[in-house]
């Protein structure tokens, strides 16, 4: 019902194009892993390699301790849930969900019972006799999940399962997915390019870029302590302030900073700048502000560096007036080197 | 200038038309038709002036005249002095003393066969076809009039006596014939079958079918059995309402002239005897041999004309024929 997955120096080439390069991952049994990255970075390729739809050019895939690199999809303890769900349109929900069991030779009665049970779990047992086209997007997604889980895989692979849903439904399905994963305990490997989604559901996030792994860690790790500029930017907005070392102090265009940092880019998220914090960023003038509900999104121009603009999310309560000059403070600084590593 | 002619396929041969076109600086437009009824329907659907000349079965001239589709030919426009006398067919080509058409070509619907595969002696009687000896090697030419006529001859009924009552007597032998034959087919398919050896005997065939193949396969032959054969004769006439009577007459004159007759006799679509004996001078000896020029006296004596059914009998004949096809 669950298994760990090891990916050992996997590379993959399509003709001359290298889609994956030296991927190493150790995934524990029962973890909820999210592969996150921009379009074309190789997420689907990696998932296909784990699911057995592609054989990697190099490296191996070990699932539950057994080498699976060259095993056909149907003989792996994995199932894949496809982005377009790939529900069989000519079968009703029950038959869709029971399909995998039917292929395993489970008797009619038994597999129907099991299918209904799975549909029950995703809250769709009342629709068992419907065809997929009579369902909404969110409902289809749940059927696909039920179908994939009905065969009790050790590892469930999900390729952008929420990609086709609108924002609200998406957030709701995230919670459901997470709950179901907890309930069944199966290892989930989930692909997305939405970093909010990734943070909301992942135990650990794999940030990918151009075929390699930029960062592999918990959501906090990845968001607050990004390893690379790419992953810092990808996880959310980021102010970048170049800093140099000068004696014991750090020097930036804003003036000297009371921090002991090396040479590189000081990265501060907009919500980590404000009227209080662990270190001062000097005085700045508010150029423009817009109300965003949970916060005001403000653009400040530091008095010392009129060419820079700092994006700052101020809490709801604050009422900044454009043109006002205030002192800004920072929190949770991260220093990354210029070349992105 | 143009001349519109409703014709059979032998008149479509450029070799035949070109000399006339050149001589008169006209263009001859031709439209082929199949069977008198279809030809008359075309005329019925046309307006006066659409057509100038028409080729038609000699025996059906009266039918066309009766419906007012043919115009009388001026006296002496065409001379039949040099014709084989048996094919002048004045009774058929004139109505009430007026001549409406003139015979231009004739031949026989009888037995055609491959003499390399068939004993020519067997071909001396139509009865052979029902004897079982050539079962599966016979083809039937798909035109009801001559074949029914031949079946009638085999049963001892003259074509002239082929009426509704007589027709019933033909049903049985006709169905037996169908059972014994490999195919009932149009000209091309029959020709092909005979030429390629798929069948060895064709009932309804004659020189018009084997002559074009002679150079290819000299074994193809034909004969008139002792019961007799059917004489086919086609006539050409002027269509009522033509705007170009002079040109039409000129065309008819050309077709019946020795030169025109010779070209028509050896036309690419099918060969046949020229009605005008004078054409003999324009034909080569080989051509005449293929046409059996010298046997004509005998053949003409033994052949009978096509049946001339009235509308009712015609319909019954066609029904019988369709039944045979579908059996």
């Amino acid at each position: 019902m669950t298994a760990e997955v090891q990916i050992r120096s996997v590379s993959h080439r399509f003709q001359s194009f290298t889609a994956l390069e030296g991927i190493d991952l150790e995934i524990a049994a029962g973890e909820f892993i999210v592969l996150l990255g921009p379009s074309g970075c190789g997420k689907t390729t990696l998932l296909s390699i784990i699911g057995g739809f592609l054989t990697p050019s190099e490296g191996e895939i070990v699932i539950g301790g057994r080498d699976m690199t060259r095993v056909a999809p149907k003989d792996r303890p994995t199932t894949t849930m496809f982005q377009d769900y790939a529900l069989f349109p000519h079968m009703n929900l029950r038959d869709n969900v029971a399909f995998g069991l039917r292929m395993r030779g489970v008797g009619r009665k038994a597999r129907h019972d099991r299918a209904l049970e799975m549909l029950e779990m995703v809250g769709l047992s009342a629709f068992a006799a419907r065809k997929p086209h009579a369902l909404s997007g969110g409902q289809r997604q749940r059927v696909a999940l039920a179908r994939a889980l009905a065969v009790e895989p050790d590892v469930l692979l999900l390729d952008e399962p929420l990609g086709a849903l609108d924002l609200k439904l998406r957030r709701q399905m995230q919670d459901e997915l997470k709950n179901i994963q907890r309930k069944v305990g199966t290892t989930f490997i989930h692909v997305t390019h939405d970093q909010e989604e990734a943070m909301a559901i992942a135990d650990r996030i794999v940030v990918m870029n151009r075929g390699h792994i930029e960062h592999f860690g918990t959501p906090e790790d990845v968001y607050l302590r990004p390893r690379t500029l790419f992953s810092a930017d990808f996880m959310g907005e980021m102010n970048r302030i170049p800093v140099r070392r000068d004696g014991g102090n750090s020097v930036s265009p804003l003036g000297p900073l009371p921090l002991d940092l090396g040479e590189g880019l000081l990265c501060l998220r907009p919500e980590n700048i404000g009227f209080e914090g662990s270190f001062s960023l000097g005085r700045a003038r508010l150029q423009e502000a817009a109300f965003f509900g949970t916060h005001h999104r403000c653009h400040f121009v530091p008095l010392n560096a009129p060419d820079l603009t700092l994006t700052v999310n101020l809490p709801q309560g604050a009422h900044p007036a454009p043109g006002a000059e205030v002192e800004l403070f920072g929190r949770d600084p991260v220093l990354l080197s210029e070349d992105g590593r | 200038e143009e001349l519109n002619a409703l014709i059979w396929c032998d008149h479509a041969d450029p070799e035949l038309l070109e000399p006339f076109e050149k001589a008169h600086d006209v263009r001859v437009n031709v439209k082929e038709y199949e069977g008198t009824a279809a030809g008359l329907t075309i005329l019925q659907q046309s307006r006066p002036g659409d057509w100038d000349v028409m080729v038609i079965d000699a025996v059906d001239v009266a039918r066309a005249v009766e419906q007012g589709y043919l115009a009388p030919l001026p006296d002496g426009a065409v001379s039949t002095a040099d014709y084989f006398p048996q094919v002048v067919l004045a009774d058929h080509n004139s109505v009430d003393g007026k001549t409406y058409a003139v015979t231009e070509k004739f031949g026989y619907n009888t037995l055609a066969y491959n003499k390399a595969k068939v004993d020519p002696k067997d071909m001396e009687s139509l009865a052979t076809l029902w004897s079982g000896k050539y079962d599966g090697r016979i083809a039937v030419y798909d035109y009801y009039l001559p074949v029914l006529g031949l079946v009638g001859l085999a049963e001892g009924i003259d074509t002239a006596n082929l009426d509704a009552a007589a027709l019933e007597k033909l049903r049985d032998p006709l169905m037996k014939l169908k059972a014994a034959s490999k195919q009932v087919s149009d000209v091309v398919a029959s020709q092909t079958a005979l030429a390629t050896g798929e069948v060895d005997v064709l009932i309804g065939g004659g020189e018009w079918l084997t002559a074009v193949l002679h150079s290819e396969n000299p074994d193809l032959d034909w004969t008139i059995p002792k019961e007799g054969g059917l004489l086919w004769a086609q006539s050409i006439g002027m269509v009522e309402g033509t705007q170009k009577p002079e040109l039409a007459i000129e065309f008819i004159k050309y077709i019946t002239s020795p030169e025109g007759q010779a070209r028509l006799a050896t036309s690419s679509c099918y060969w046949g005897m020229p009605a005008n004996k004078a054409a003999g001078d324009a034909l080569s000896e080989d051509e005449k041999a293929v046409l059996r020029w010298s046997d004509q006296a005998d053949y003409l004596a033994r052949a009978q004309l096509y049946p001339v059914p009235d509308a009712q009998t015609d319909s019954a004949m066609q029904d019988l024929w369709t039944d045979m096809l579908q059996n």
Binding site: T78, F88, R104 | G35, E198
Partner: protein
């Protein structure tokens, strides 16, 4: 006037010419023909009806009834065989052939489309004759001691038709297959289905609409065709279109030809209703 009304008027103006054309040159002739079918030929002239003599004759005259039966049998046979042959071909091209060879394979599969239609039947006559290439080869190879007759039989008609419709169906089924998400097959396989099971349980049902649309087109074109049975079938048994042409060519019997045409159309309409559920005519 409201904006919607103006829109509608302009829309109607655009549709009008095509609609008018269809009414004048399709509906009207059809009515003319229906009217004609209610008269009959007496002697050599048409007696206008209305009467049902022609229809009465069609349903009592064995040769005409047999024509209907022959047409139905041939069409059914052709449709079934063509689908059975075309599906695997389309499937192989869509899934087994590398992408860059696909268009070439498809082009090759429909190459004879570009011969003239009349010539296509004729060339089968050359191939299938007793002296044709096939018999020559079979006898030459010793697989047959003697040529068998195919030409001028129903087999020849069926072969000629199947040849044409395999090409047509390959195209429609292929375009259907290529539009299917590859994930259907992957999902089925992932859930444990064997290759055959994937095809039988998933791909085949998914192409059903395309297959039915193609089969219906086959049906329509096949049952209404004159050339192929005429050239290949000989006159050993007559199909409905051959009977219709016979009425025209030999007898000049337009009323009967019209009546037979309406019967033909009735058959097609019934076929349409039978598979209307899966048909997407607008997407042909």
């Amino acid at each position: 006037m409201s904006i919607e009304r103006i829109e509608k008027r302009q829309g109607a103006t655009l549709v009008a010419p095509a609609l008018l054309w269809t009414l004048v040159f399709f509906v009207l002739p059809f009515l003319a023909m229906a009217l004609m079918s209610l008269s009959h030929l007496e002697g050599r002239s048409v007696v206008s009806g209305p009467d049902l003599r022609n229809y009465a004759k069609i349903f009592t005259e064995p040769s005409l009834l047999k024509g209907i039966a022959v047409s139905l049998e041939i069409t059914a046979l052709v449709t079934v065989i063509s689908v059975a042959l075309a599906w695997p071909l389309a499937w192989i091209i869509a899934t087994r052939i590398p992408v860059r060879w696909r268009r070439l394979a498809l082009l090759l599969a429909v190459l004879p489309f570009w011969t003239s239609y009349v010539v296509r039947s004729y060339s089968w006559a050359l191939v299938l004759g007793e002296k044709g290439v096939v018999m020559n080869a079979l006898v030459g190879l010793g697989m047959l001691s003697e040529p068998v007759q195919i030409m001028a039989t129903r087999s020849a008609t069926v072969i000629g038709f199947v040849h044409f419709f395999v090409m047509l169906l390959t195209l429609t089924i292929y375009s259907n297959l290529i539009q299917l998400s590859p994930n259907y097959a992957r999902a089925a396989e992932d859930l444990g289905a064997s290759r055959w099971q994937v095809i039988r349980l998933v791909i085949l049902p998914l192409t059903l609409p395309g297959v039915v649309t193609g089969a219906f087109l086959t049906f329509v074109l096949c049952i209404g065709d004159y050339i192929t049975p005429q050239i290949l079938g000989g006159n050993n048994e007559l199909t409905l279109p051959q009977l219709i042409m016979l009425q025209l060519g030999r007898r000049g019997d337009y009323p009967m030809a019209s009546a037979l045409s309406l019967v033909l159309m009735l058959i097609v309409t019934l076929a349409y209703l039978a598979c209307a559920r899966w048909l997407k005519m607008e997407r042909v």
